[in-house]
Every structure is written in C-alpha cells, then in structure tokens.
Amino acid sequence: MNLLIDVLIAIGLVVLAWQALVGGSLFRGIVMFIVFGLTMALAWARLGSPDLAMAEAAIGAGVTGALLMIAYWRLRALGASRPTPRSRLRARLALGVGVLSSVLVAMIGLAAVEAIGPGGEAGQALAAALPATGLGNPITGVLVIFRNLDTLLEVAVLLAAYVASRAALGDDKAALPLPPAQDAPLVGALVAVLAPLTVLVAIYLLKAGSQLPGGAFQAGAVLAAGGVLLMLAGRLHPAPLCGLGLRIALVAGTVVFSGVGIIMLALGQPLLAVPGTWAVYLIETAMMVSIGATLVLLFAGSAGLSGKALR
C-alpha cells in the first residue's frame, strides 16, 4: 500500500510536469505548474519532510501562482508579441538531450541511493551533535549552527535579488504594472481574517522552529504570502521609494546574523558562532522579516510599499 501511494504520487509528478511544460496554452501551463507544486508538497509529506511540505505549501500556494499569473498579465498588458515557434530539428535534438539527461540523473540518483545507504555520515554527525545545542529540530540546527555561513549568504542572495530587480527595472524609479485591485466585499472579509492569521502562523512557525518542523524560511514565506494577499486586495500598493522601516526589514537578516557572528569573534569565539538558543531566535526573527519583505517587494516589482495608492 505504501509503495502504491508513492508510485501514484510519482506518476502524478511526471504527468503534471509534462502537462505544465509541453503543449497547451501558457495559462494552462501555469495552472498545471501550480498543481505540480501541490503534488510536490504531498511528495515531501511522504518522504517524511514536513518542513519541506510547509515551505512548498507557503511558497507554492501563496507566492508562486500569484507571481506567475501577474507576470503573465503584465506581459499581456504590455502587448508583448508571441515568439515564433521552434523548428522541428530543434525539437528532435531537444528530445534526445532530454532523454539523455533524464538517464544521467537517474543513474546518479540510483548510484547515490546505493552508495550512501541509510543515513549519510553527515546526517549521523548532525544527529550526534544536536542535543548539545538545545535545539530539537535538526533542520534549524543545520541552518543556524552548522551551516551558518551558507545561511547568512542565502539571506544575502535574497537581498541581492531585490537590488538586481531594482537595477533591471531602470533608474527612473519605475514599478511594474499591477492589475486593478480586487475589492469585492468578500475579498475584504477574507483579508480581515487571513492577514492577521498569516502573522500569527508565521510567529508560531518561528517559535516552533527550534524544536518542531518550522523556522524562519517557512515563516518568512507565510508573511510574504500575507503581503501578496494585501497587494492583490488593494490594501498595499507599490511605492516609488523604499521607506526607512522597509529598508531596515530588508537588511535585518543579513545585519543581525553577521552582527552576532562578528561580536562572537570579538569575544574570542569562532566567526559566526551562535552563543545560545536566544541568539537562534533573534537571528531567525530577523531572517523571517527579511525574507517576507524581500519576497513581497519582488512580487510588487517596485522599490517600496505604501498603504496609499499612488496618484
């Protein structure tokens, strides 16, 4: 029965990937891709990774679909031309490349499954070292204790994505167009319930993250989804300038994380050492705020946000 469930989900993933990517209208592709995200969450659930299922749920349901649909709308509003179809020869070559790459990935993956067997050495070392840190959730442990430099750089990558998208959109403070906001009474009721709830759930995930599945990345994604909801409902608007509070939110993760790390260096500890569970909470809170703010701004395609509509 277990194997049957896995096989069904796996077949679903393959069929959905095909449907999302090959043939059909672009809009159908986007919808199929959203459904692909749902199915990925099921796959993570089956693979015993509720952390990943949560992240996929928050990102897939809250951000990805809205992002792709709005990008599609923007392209249509700009009246962009459709590309000319690719040639037949190219399609044949691509088929061969696709099949070969597929075989390659399968061989690497199967070899890795054979070679490593149950529980890699790094995983065992992690499980052995974790109790000393006072954290119950190995993933938070990895992110903040063992892979701290990586995690810091990942927050920095988010910041870089924001800066890069500002650069790409030109120096005239222009924002990308957004469709007219939905302000039906029902949407208002939904926002009234969901917006506070996203904040509540984000804080829950952050707090749970030290012992249970959850943590800054999921919490930040949930906050971002709340922000996207507010924008779509016309409660938040793109603004040409990035306010002080928003600037602080954007850099909070990078600054707090590296700040704590450097202070520890001054105290004679290794660079980026984390002094205790309270520091983990501090760093994760700052990371959550940064991740949420960056994703909302990337969605808006503007420098800043404001509560009032422009004009």
Binding site: V22, G23, G24, S25, L26, F27, R28, G29, R82, P83, P85, R86, S87, R88, R90, A91, Q182, A184, L186, V187, A189, L190, V193, L197
Partner: protein, 113 residues
Amino acid sequence: MSVLEWLAAALLAAGAFFFLAGTVGLLRFPDALARLHALTKADNVGLLLICSGLAVLGGSVRVTGLLLLVWLLAMLASTVSAHLIAGRALADDDTGDPLDEGADERARSEGGT
C-alpha cells in the same frame, strides 16, 4: 476495533464518498457554473466528514481544534474563490477561454514536433 474506530471509519468512508461525488460532478456537469456548484459543496462536506473522522481518531483537543480551524478556513477560502470564479465564468459566458489564446503553443505543437 473499538466503537470509536468504527465511528471514525464510517465518517472517513462517508467523506471519501462526498469527494467522489464532487469529482463526478466536476467531470460530468455541463458548464462551469454547474461544476462549481457540485464541487465546492461536495468537497466541503467531504472535508468536514474526513476532519470529523480524524478528530475522533486523533483524540486530543488540540488536534480537534486544528482540524476545525482547517475546515473553517477551507469554507472561507472556497466561498471567496467560488464567488470570484463564478463572476468570471458569467462574464465570459460563451466566449470560450479568454486566456486560452495559445496560438504560439499550438502552432509550435503542430509545426514543431
């Protein structure tokens, strides 16, 4: 199996039946509004029944509260979504798929592969 487990099994089976009914409606009903009608109602009842069954199995107040919250939010979300999508379906009645202009993709699949 205890009485509670039988109760849970009955609730879960009933929930599965409503999901099946919703899917049959989705596949068999003639237009978007009828499908919407079948789907949202049947799925919400199905979700309620499955949540009740799992609450009986879960056996703690915390789990029951969370399941209740999930169901209430599902009601809210499907109400709003169904309202918005029905408005859309009415607005482009008979015009086919307003977004499905996939000339580019179809041209490719005809000429490309």
